[in-house]
Every structure is written in structure tokens, then in C-alpha cells.
Subunit: 289 residues, 2 copies
């Protein structure tokens, strides 16, 4: 299949499948966006289920791809893996440089799109990661790769765990499996979230609820049984991540949640890699039903 | 145990063990050297076998540590993994900056120590990676980590495959298992090797033979059964790596070798990760004997 203006940056055989990095011109962000796709060997026989991985603050499409060790189990289970970038970057199609945090902080702007469509200047022109991940990139994946779009799962880490949970809750019926590593569960209730949603969406906190997993569940949204792993030596757990808030909201609302608190594990990809097999098996079990 | 001037740069729980990055003052290189150690959970019960991984051109201790996906099987098999840096770096204990390739090339100087003790100026002052890997770092590991130094294996990639093979051949009886991914098998017979050994050891090619796996085997050195995996879509296979030379030398000398030619695989860590489990099982089988 032909996708307009998609470019292969690199492609390597990996566990019998192929690991590629691609770029395309995004209409949503008005920039060239990169993304990573692992195609498992089973795709030679026909379309395969797709698991999305949304990354955390400071990441590109590369971090998950090289550090998570996910391709081995994805190859064994026959899962395609798609990992997008976390923000627009560079110069856009109108010649404007994508704006960044005015002080160059790593928790806002480049590498920190927070999976929302910004409404505030100057962010609204390019920072449209919610629509990019929800609509534009899935259409591209469906057109250019052997993906069974009726069998999709989504997962993510930290800011990307927030993205996975909120995008799943906002698209009922689309994802058959949902999981997260050390997710930001409630941007309304943490400094990272307050800075990001305040900046991208403005000061009216009622508009933030559509991008807050806890608020979405409180407001009636539901998604498939959520699997969360949280390292208890993660320095951000008490100040930013607050898994207890998700647990309370799920308990109150009857949203199924399995929350594993992992003693001694931190916020790094060493933690993610340690439990990646569990998460991919979780997705595969739901996607095979 | 206390090791003088060793510093923990980072430590993370990983697959039930610990992945650390450490630094120490090296007497051999006169610089602070970093290295990576994965300690498997079995080390809580006593010393465990050690597998060394020597990295390729441009790498530090980090590449293997984050990209190879080795900790999972090392944890399952009870193996410690040690990954050193590939050259001295920075300013040394006499205030001299470690010299680099005069043109800044990536195949000589920083990140390209080639696992030799340089004899030529200005390299001889710091570029002592053969003695560093053979003597100084093993003493540090034996003193500071729960390592069974009577059960050591060694492996490496590309330039580090050259390092693993030559260091194993130069220390008969020390290593009970040897393997390599896409090794440079004969620096005497490839441009990378001619540049490196010519630079570090000078123009007398007879002195290079002690750092050339094929020449060492021809000259009578032996090591345990060697496992090599080589991707056949590796762009360096014909020009630099030349596995056929190793195969011919082993066949002629009766040195046991298993050489797996892997169709479609390139020179990247995606290739290494794909066959890491095979290599770690190979080492574990020999180290358990």
C-alpha cells in the first residue's frame, strides 16, 4: 500500500520480524513525525494485532524501541508494536519552528506533548498529539502495514501511561487491551500535569477532565480491564504518579484494574523491560479472544 | 568489600537483580573508567558465574546495557554480566586529555581502543585496554561483586568480538565459554584493523599477530568451543568482518567453532538482541559444568 510522503529511516531484521523507523508529513502537527513499527514474522500470513506504546517525558520513538526489549515477546505472540514520538519537533510546513518550553524545561514542549490537542497560543498550531495518535497515525498504520485494526491494544509509560489510559477511555470499543507502566493517573493532581494542561489547555480546569484518567472514570468513561505496574522505588510515585488515585477511582466506579506494586523498582526502562513480557501476554490474551 | 575510589553512578532493580553503572580510577588508563554490572538474583545465595561483554566501535558501557536485552536471560540463568567501556576518555591523572583520532574519525581513538596496549605515542600513555580488561577490571570485579572468578565466559560484538576472541585465546584456561556477534576476526586483513593496530602498535605487522584471532589460532593458541553469529545483511561482513577467515583457521587448526550465518540480519543491536538468549544459554551450559 502507498502512503503519501512516508519515508523509511531505517529497517532491521529483529527476532524474525522487522523493526523499522519511519517518518511522514503529519497534517495534525504540520511537522514531519517519526514513529517506530515492529512487524512480527506472523504478518507474512496476514494482518496481525497491533499494540501501541506511548512514551514518557523527554522520549522519542526510539526509547521504547531500543530499551524495552519488547520485540522478543511481540515476535513470539504475533503482535505488531507501534511507538510514536511524544511531540512535534523541528520546523513546520509553514516555516515556523515548533515552540518549546520558554525556559527549556524537559516537562513541557518538545518531548512533552502530553497527548492533548492544545488550545492555547503558541501551542495550538502544532501540539495536536491527541488527534495525531487517535486518528492520523492509526489511518497511516492501517494503510501501510499488515495491521488488524479490529484487534488493537494500547500501553504506555509515565506521561505515555497517561496517554494510553486517556485515549483508551476516550475511544470506547476501540482497544481490547489497556496497560501502563508507572502512569501519570491524574494530571489535575500533580505538578507535571498542572503545568502541561495549564499550558496547553489554559487555566479552566474543567476542560482538563477530558485528559485525566481518574476524572474520566469518575465521569463515567470505561475501558477494558486495566493492567498497571508501578515500581515502589520510583522517585515520582508520591509526587506525580499517585497510583492510589487510580485505584480509588476504579474501585468506586467498578472499572476493572490490576495494579501491581513492585518493590525496589524505579522509573527506568530497566523496570519496563522487567515486566514487558507480562504486559505483552496480557495484551495478547485479550487480542486473541 | 571495599574497592578504592569506586563510585556507583546509577543502580536499578532489573529482572529481580540489579543493573548498575560504576566508575573507578584506572591505573592502566590513568583515567576514570566506567563499566556496567548486572548482578542476578541468584547472587544473594553466593558467588555467580561472570560473562564479559566487550562492545564495538563508538560504544560505551551503555550500549550493551540498554540495547541487548541480556538481563532477562542472565537473571534466569544466574549469570553476572560485566560490560566495560571501549576506550579511555576525558582528562587523565596527569592532567592530559586522552588523545583522539586527529580527524575525529569514529574508528580510532575514543570509543575504539581495540583491546590492545598501545606502544606508540601519543596512544601508549592511556590506551591500555588489553591490560585493563585482562587484569585490572577482573581484580576489581572479584573484589567488589559476588563473582565466581573460576566460572568466567566472554563475548563481544564487532571490535568487541575481536576483543573477546583474542583475550580468550591469550589467556588459556581462564574462560570456560567464548562467543561473538559479528566479530572482526582478523585485524591484519581489514581496514579497521590495519588502521587501529598500525596506529596503536606501529607498522611492524608481526607484532599485530598477538591481537588477531585468526593469527593466534594459526600460531597455536586455543580456547573453548567458539560460538559466532554473523548477520548476512551486515554491510561490514565482506569488507571488515570476514568470518570465512576464522572458519578456515579453526578448521585447519582443529579449534572448535560453531558459526551461524543469519540471513537478513544486519550489524545492529537488533541482531544482537535476537540471538542473545542463544549466546547466554551457550555460556551458562559451559559455566555450569
Amino acid at each position: 500500500m502507498i502512503v503519501k510522503d512516508m519515508e523509511t529511516i531505517s529497517i532491521s531484521r529483529c527476532f524474525g520480524g522487522t523493526q523499522g523507523i519511519y517518518a511522514h508529513a503529519s497534517a495534525e502537527t504540520r511537522t514531519r513525525m517519526r514513529f517506530s513499527v515492529f512487524v512480527p514474522p506472523q504478518a507474512e500470513q496476514g494482518p496481525v494485532p497491533v499494540v501501541w506504546f506511548l512514551s514518557g517525558l523527554t522520549c522519542t520513538e526510539e526509547n521504547f524501541t531500543v530499551k524495552a526489549g519488547a520485540q522478543r515477546m511481540a515476535a513470539a505472540l504475533g503482535l505488531m508494536l507501534v511507538a510514536p514520538d511524544t511531540s512535534p519537533r523541528g520546523v513546520d510546513d509553514g516555516g515556523e519552528t515548533v515552540p518549546d518550553d520558554p525556559e527549556g524545561a524537559w516537562d513541557f514542549g518538545l518531548g512533552a506533548g502530553f497527548y492533548v490537542d492544545a488550545t492555547e497560543a503558541p501551542w495550538a498550531r502544532n501540539y495536536r498529539m491527541f488527534s495525531y495518535i487517535s486518528d492520523e497515525l492509526p489511518q497511516l498504520i492501517a494503510g501501510a502495514f499488515p495491521a488488524d485494526m479490529n484487534a488493537q491494544g494500547i500501553m504506555g509509560h509515565s506521561m505515555g501511561g497517561h496517554g494510553a489510559l486517556t485515549i483508551a477511555l476516550r475511544h470506547p470499543g476501540r482497544f481490547r487491551s489497556v496497560s501502563a507502566f508507572a502512569p501519570i493517573v491524574s494530571p489535575l493532581n500533580c505538578p507535571w500535569g498542572e503545568k502541561a494542561l495549564g499550558g496547553y489547555l489554559g487555566p479552566d480546569r474543567s476542560r482538563w477532565r477530558a485528559h485525566d484518567a481518574v476524572a474520566l472514570i469518575e465521569d463515567g468513561a470505561r475501558c477494558p480491564h486495566i493492567l498497571v505496574d508501578q515500581g515502589m522505588a520510583d522517585g515520582f510515585v508520591a509526587s506525580q504518579l499517585k497510583p492510589d488515585l487510580l485505584e480509588a477511582a476504579c474501585n468506586a466506579a467498578g472499572q476493572p484494574l490490576t495494579l501491581n506494586r513492585r518493590d525496589g523498582y524505579d522509573h527506568s526502562y530497566y523496570f519496563i523491560a522487567s515486566f514487558m513480557e507480562d504486559h505483552l501476554r496480557w495484551h495478547a490474551a485479550a487480542l486473541r479472544d
